[in-house]
C-alpha cells in the first residue's frame, strides 16, 4: 500500500483529535476482546480492529446534527460519531443503562442524541432506512447529511441498488461508505462478486463515486469532507469504497488465521500501515502518553460502570413494544 504522507493542511489539534478517536476505538475493542471470555458480554461482538480509520476519517467530516447509519460491526462508527461509551458497554453487558436499555445488544447500537441512528443485523437492510433519514433531511432543508456505512457483502443485497437509485433520483444528502474488507464471514469477494467494479457501477447512477485503497485516514477524511461539502451545498448522494482489512475473526474476540480460509500474509501490510500507530508516531511522545492515559481511564470507567450498573427488571420486558 502506498503510504501518503501527512497532508500539509492538517492542523496539530486535528491530528491529536484523530489519534484520540482512533486510539479510543482500538482500546475499547481490545478491552472487549479481553473481557469476552469471561462471558459477561452475552452478545455476539463483531470487532472492527484495523478498520477504525474509515469511521474516524468519515465522521471527522460530519457535524453533530449529521447522522450515521452503522452496521453490526459498528463500534468504530458509533464512537467516532460521539456515541456514549458507557451506554455502549452497558448495552453489551445487557444492562438497563445501556444505549438500548438491554434491548439492542452489540449488533444494534444506537445514540439518537449523538446522531447514531442504529444498525440492522440483517445485512444491508439499514441502507434504505438511512436513505429515509436523508429524505427527511432534504425535506427540512437543514443542511444536515447522513453517512451510511455498509460492508462489501451488504452491497450484494438488492435494497442497496434500490436505495442508490432513489437517493440519486431525489438528490438526497447521503454519503454511502462501503467498507470493503474483502470478506463476508469466511467467503472472499471472488465467490460473491462477478467483477470488482462496484465503484464504477455506482457511478452509473450519476453518483460521484471514488475507491480509496491506501488505508490512510487522511485520504478518507479528505474524500468525505469534499463529498459532504458538496451535499450541504445542495448536491446529491456520494459513494466511497474504502479498502480495509478485518484483523480479527468475523464474530468473537480472536484471530483466525489458523482456520485456513485466509493467510496471515494478508494481514501483514495492514498492520504495517496501522493508522493508530502511524498517528502516534506523528505526535510528540508526551502528548501520546497523555492521550493514552486519559483513554485508559475513560475505558476502565466505562467497563466498571457496565459491571456494576443494574440489569433491567424482568417486569420491564414489555416496555417499548409500542410507542
Amino acid at each position: 500500500m502506498p503510504q501518503s504522507s501527512l497532508p500539509g493542511d492538517v492542523r496539530p489539534e486535528t491530528l491529536s483529535h484523530l489519534y484520540r478517536t482512533l486510539r479510543l476505538i482500538r482500546v475499547v475493542e481490545e478491552e472487549i476482546a479481553r473481557v469476552y471470555p469471561s462471558d459477561k458480554i452475552k452478545s455476539p461482538v463483531h470487532l472492527s480492529i484495523g478498520q477504525e480509520f474509515i469511521s474516524v476519517g468519515v465522521c471527522d467530516a460530519l457535524e453533530p446534527r449529521d447522522r450515521v447509519s452503522i452496521t453490526y460491526r459498528g463500534h468504530a462508527a458509533y464512537l467516532a460519531k460521539g456515541g456514549d461509551l458507557k451506554a455502549m458497554i452497558a448495552e453489551m453487558y445487557g444492562k438497563r443503562a445501556g444505549c438500548a436499555q438491554g434491548r439492542g445488544g452489540s449488533m444494534h447500537l444506537v445514540d439518537m442524541q449523538a446522531g447514531v441512528i442504529g444498525a440492522s443485523a440483517v445485512v444491508g437492510t439499514s441502507i434504505p432506512v438511512a436513505t429515509g433519514f436523508a429524505l427527511a433531511a432534504r425535506r427540512r432543508k437543514t443542511g444536515a447529511v447522513v453517512a451510511c456505512f455498509l460492508g462489501d457483502g451488504a452491497s450484494e443485497e438488492g435494497c442497496f441498488y434500490e436505495s442508490l437509485n432513489f437517493a440519486a433520483l431525489h438528490k438526497l444528502p447521503i454519503l454511502f461508505v462501503c467498507e470493503n474488507n474483502g470478506y463476508a464471514i469466511h467467503e472472499p469477494l471472488s465467490k460473491r462478486w462477478a467483477t470488482d467494479r462496484l465503484t464504477e457501477r455506482v457511478a452509473t447512477f450519476g453518483i460521484p463515486a471514488e475507491k480509496l485503497t491506501d488505508g490512510d485516514v487522511f485520504t478518507v477524511r479528505n474524500a468525505a469532507k469534499a463529498a459532504v461539502g458538496a451535499m450541504r451545498a445542495g448536491g446529491g448522494p456520494a459513494f466511497l469504497e474504502v479498502a480495509c482489512y478485518r484483523w480479527q475473526e468475523h464474530v468473537g474476540p480472536n484471530r483466525d488465521y489458523d482456520q485456513g480460509y485466509r493467510p496471515a500474509a494478508e494481514l501483514a501490510p495492514w498492520v504495517a500501515n496501522d493508522q493508530v500507530a502511524r498517528l502516534a508516531g506523528l505526535l510528540n511522545p508526551a502528548e501520546v502518553e497523555r492521550i493514552d492515559a486519559a483513554i485508559a481511564r475513560t475505558v476502565a470507567e466505562a467497563f466498571a460502570f457496565a459491571e456494576e450498573t443494574p440489569f433491567p427488571d424482568p417486569e420491564d420486558l414489555y416496555d417499548h413494544v409500542y410507542a
Partner: protein, 356 residues
C-alpha cells in the same frame, strides 16, 4: 350501513380515504403520501385525487419499483419525525416489504430501547374477483398480526375508512392499513370534521341472539347480507366488526359469544394461522369450556386464487356459504339448508367490472 352515526354526508369509501389524507396533510406538514402511482391521473382509484395539486410533489410522489427499499425509506423518514403514508395497490406486494416491516419497523422502537418511534402507515388494497389471480388477491393481515410492534386495521365502510386512517396517521407506531378494492364504491355517512376510530375497539354492527359472526374487512358486508337471509328462517346473527385486528378487541367478541354460544369468523383471507384462528383461540382461552361455545372459521379456500370465474366463485366465502355455515352450526340436526344463490349475491359484486 355499519355507520355508528347518521351525521355527515353519504361518502364513498375511496373518497373518505382521500378526505382523511387531505385533512391530515393540512394539519401536519410532516405527513406525506408516496408510493407507485399516487400522483398519476388515476390517483389510486381516486383515493389520492387532488393531493398533488394541493400539497405538491414534495409531499405526494411516486417511486421506482423498489418496494423493499421504499419501505425502508418510509421507516427512516418516520424515525426522523415525519409521518409517511406508503401506498401499495395490492397487498400481495407487501411480501417484498416483509423484511423492512417485520425486522425493522416493528422492532425499531423496542430494539433501540424506546429512543425512536416509527409513525408510518402502510396502505394496501386487497384485490378481488374478475380474474385478479394468485398474486393480486391476497389478504395477508394474519402475517402482520403475528408480529409485536405492528398495528393492523381493516375498515369495512367509509366511516371507519376515514376515522381509522386519521387514527393510523396520528399513531406513533407502524400501522398496516388494509383496504378492499370492492369496498371503494360503497357509501356511508361520514362526518366532515376529522375524527378518529381508535385502535382496540370492535363494533357490534347488528344485534342477534343465535350466533356471533365476526366479519373481517369486506366480509362484514357479506355477513350482513347473510344475516338478512338467515332472518328469513328465524335465525338472528350478531355481526361484529373488529375494525382493528391489532390491537384486537377480544372482550367484545367474548361477551357476545358467551350469550349466543356460537362463534363464526368469516375472514377474507386463508384460515390456517389466520385471524379467525386467533379470534377463536383468544375467545376460548378467556371463556373456557363451560361457556360451551361452538366455533368455526370460513375464509379463502386453501388454494391460490384462481382467475377462472367458476373456480373463483368457489374460492371465496359469500353470503350464501356464510348463511349455510351458520345454519349448520345453529341447527345441526336440520339437514343442509342453503339460501337461493341469486339472492345471496351482493350489489357491488354484480356491479364490478375490470380491468382493475
Amino acid at each position: 350501513m355499519t355507520t355508528s352515526t347518521p351525521e355527515g354526508r353519504l361518502l364513498r369509501y375511496v373518497d373518505a380515504l382521500c378526505e382523511a389524507f387531505a385533512q391530515e396533510m393540512r394539519r401536519d406538514e410532516n405527513v406525506f403520501v408516496f408510493g407507485l402511482d399516487v400522483d398519476d391521473h388515476k390517483a389510486i382509484q381516486g383515493s389520492t385525487r387532488g393531493l398533488l395539486d394541493e400539497f405538491g410533489p414534495e409531499r405526494v410522489f411516486t417511486t421506482p419499483l423498489s418496494e423493499d427499499a421504499m419501505t425502508g425509506v418510509a421507516i427512516g423518514a418516520a424515525m426522523s419525525g415525519m409521518r409517511p403514508v406508503h401506498t401499495h395497490i395490492r397487498m400481495d406486494f407487501l411480501l417484498l416489504c416483509m423484511n423492512q416491516l417485520v425486522n425493522i419497523a416493528a422492532k425499531a422502537r423496542y430494539m433501540y430501547g424506546g429512543t425512536v418511534s416509527v409513525p408510518m402507515v402502510v396502505r394496501s388494497m386487497i384485490g378481488k374477483s374478475w380474474g385478479q389471480g394468485a398474486q393480486h388477491s391476497q389478504a395477508l393481515h394474519s402475517m402482520f398480526m403475528h408480529v409485536p410492534g405492528l398495528k393492523v386495521v381493516a375498515p369495512s365502510n367509509a366511516y371507519d375508512a376515514k376515522g381509522c386512517m386519521i387514527a393510523a396517521i396520528r399513531d406513533d407506531n407502524p400501522v398496516v392499513f388494509m383496504e378492499h378494492r370492492l369496498l371503494y364504491p360503497t357509501e356511508a355517512y361520514v362526518p366532515e370534521a376529522p375524527y378518529e376510530v381508535p385502535p382496540g375497539k370492535a363494533r357490534v354492527v347488528a344485534p342477534g341472539d343465535d350466533i356471533t359472526v365476526v366479519g373481517i374487512s369486506n366480509m362484514v358486508v357479506e355477513c350482513l347480507r347473510a344475516r338478512e337471509l338467515l332472518a328469513e328462517v328465524g335465525i338472528t346473527a350478531e355481526v361484529i366488526d373488529p375494525i382493528w385486528l391489532t390491537p384486537l378487541d377480544v372482550d367484545t367478541i367474548v361477551e357476545s359469544a358467551r350469550r349466543t354460544r356460537h362463534l363464526l369468523v368469516a375472514d377474507n383471507g386463508w384460515t390456517a394461522c389466520g385471524a379467525g384462528a386467533e379470534i377463536i383461540a383468544g375467545v376460548l382461552e378467556r371463556a373456557g369450556p363451560d361457556a360451551g361455545i361452538a366455533v368455526k372459521r370460513i375464509g379463502f379456500a386453501p388454494t391460490s386464487c384462481p382467475p377462472s370465474p367458476p373456480l373463483e366463485a368457489q374460492f371465496y366465502p359469500n353470503p350464501g356459504t356464510i348463511a349455510a355455515t351458520v345454519h349448520a352450526m345453529v341447527r345441526p340436526r336440520s339437514s343442509g339448508w342453503r339460501p337461493d344463490p341469486e339472492r345471496a349475491k351482493l350489489a357491488y359484486q354484480t356491479q364490478f367490472r375490470g380491468p382493475f
